[in-house]
């Protein structure tokens, strides 16, 4: 079997009929489904809030400074992620490792801040079951946090064992980082909407 291993097609070369590599098309189709997943939750939020007889003053229930800090952390991690990819394009593996490491650390930082926020709510007896607003808040930020964790697992792999591919197939490795980056930016993008919707409006 070892000498007949099958090549996965179109990982680096463009597929003629789509004009894309398969991973690029794949990640975008996946993100399209993610838009609908988060879209269903955002539309539920809109429906429940518009239809509610009363709604809590969100910014007085939640911690706006901590959420602002998390916004800055996540935006910064998006930049370091794209710089990690640009470093590979420029043949700089050392810089790639630096930027990818920073991206991972930013993910850790985001989760720590989120944990502090959740604990603060629980300590004040505020749970998902308390009211519709908190139910939506914990569901949507929780789902988002799961996405952050998923992205961190992928990034950790590419920072650790996954880096080996750089020696054997640098173009394919660079594409992998671009695709992982597109996912990571999407996670940032979801937060860009979660932040004003839950904390500021």
């Amino acid at each position: 079997m070892s000498d007949t291993h099958m090549e996965i097609p179109y990982t680096t070369e463009v597929r003629p009929d789509t004009g894309l590599t398969n991973p690029k098309l794949g990640i975008w189709l996946f993100l399209a489904s993610e838009v609908m997943l988060f879209g269903s939750l955002f539309s539920s939020y809109a429906l429940l809030r518009i239809g509610a007889a009363s709604w809590p003053d969100q910014s007085s229930v939640l911690n706006v400074p901590l959420a602002t800090l998390n916004t800055v952390i996540l935006i910064s991690s998006s930049v370091t992620m794209v710089l990690a990819w640009a470093a590979l394009k420029g043949q700089r593996l050392d810089r790639y490792k630096l930027y990818m490491g920073l991206t991972f650390l930013a993910g850790v930082g985001f989760l720590i801040v989120k944990t502090i926020e959740y604990r603060e709510k629980f300590d004040h007896g505020l749970f998902p079951s308390t009211n519709n607003f908190l139910g939506l808040y914990f569901t949507m930020t929780g789902l988002h946090a799961i996405h952050v964790i998923g992205g961190m697992i992928v990034n950790a792999y590419f920072l650790g064992p996954g880096t080996k591919m750089w020696k054997t197939d640098p173009d394919r490795f660079t594409n992998r980082i671009e695709v992982a980056g597109i996912y990571w930016h999407f996670v940032d993008l979801v937060w860009i909407f979660l932040f004003p919707v839950f904390y500021l409006l």
Binding site: W28, A32, A52, S54, A86
Partner: protein
């Protein structure tokens, strides 16, 4: 392979986008302290969020230079997401007479039928 010089130009662009995103974040937070009425607050907050999302998509996710098939897939997604929001919110505009909430459990009916049993 991209020429290293091209990458340097990109990096400057990415940092510029980064700065813009930070500025827009500050504006969003500052605007929320103005205590504007709910309508303008929501409009402003969502507009700034959309601009930020556009910047992330166009530059970080490379949507500025992407193939037609990606645009087609995302256009279809946009239509479906819009339909999802529209149908969901239309249910709110389509209350049976007298089942519309007013103030918290107000005794004043908004329509012809009594409020009892609303929702």
């Amino acid at each position: 392979m991209t020429h290293p010089a091209d990458v340097a130009v990109h990096v400057r662009g990415y940092l510029l986008v980064f700065g813009t995103l930070l500025v827009l974040t500050v504006i969003t937070v500052a605007a929320s302290y103005l205590n504007l009425p709910t309508g303008p607050t929501v409009a402003l907050g969502l507009t700034i969020a959309a601009v930020k999302a556009g910047l992330v998509g166009a530059f970080f996710m490379h949507l500025r230079h992407e193939r037609a098939l990606i645009y087609a897939a995302l256009s279809l997604t946009a239509v479906l997401a819009l339909a999802l929001f529209s149908f969901t919110l239309w249910t709110e505009a389509d209350h049976a007479p007298g089942t519309q909430f007013t103030a918290p459990f107000s005794a004043t009916p908004t329509d012809t039928a009594p409020v009892e049993g609303a929702h």
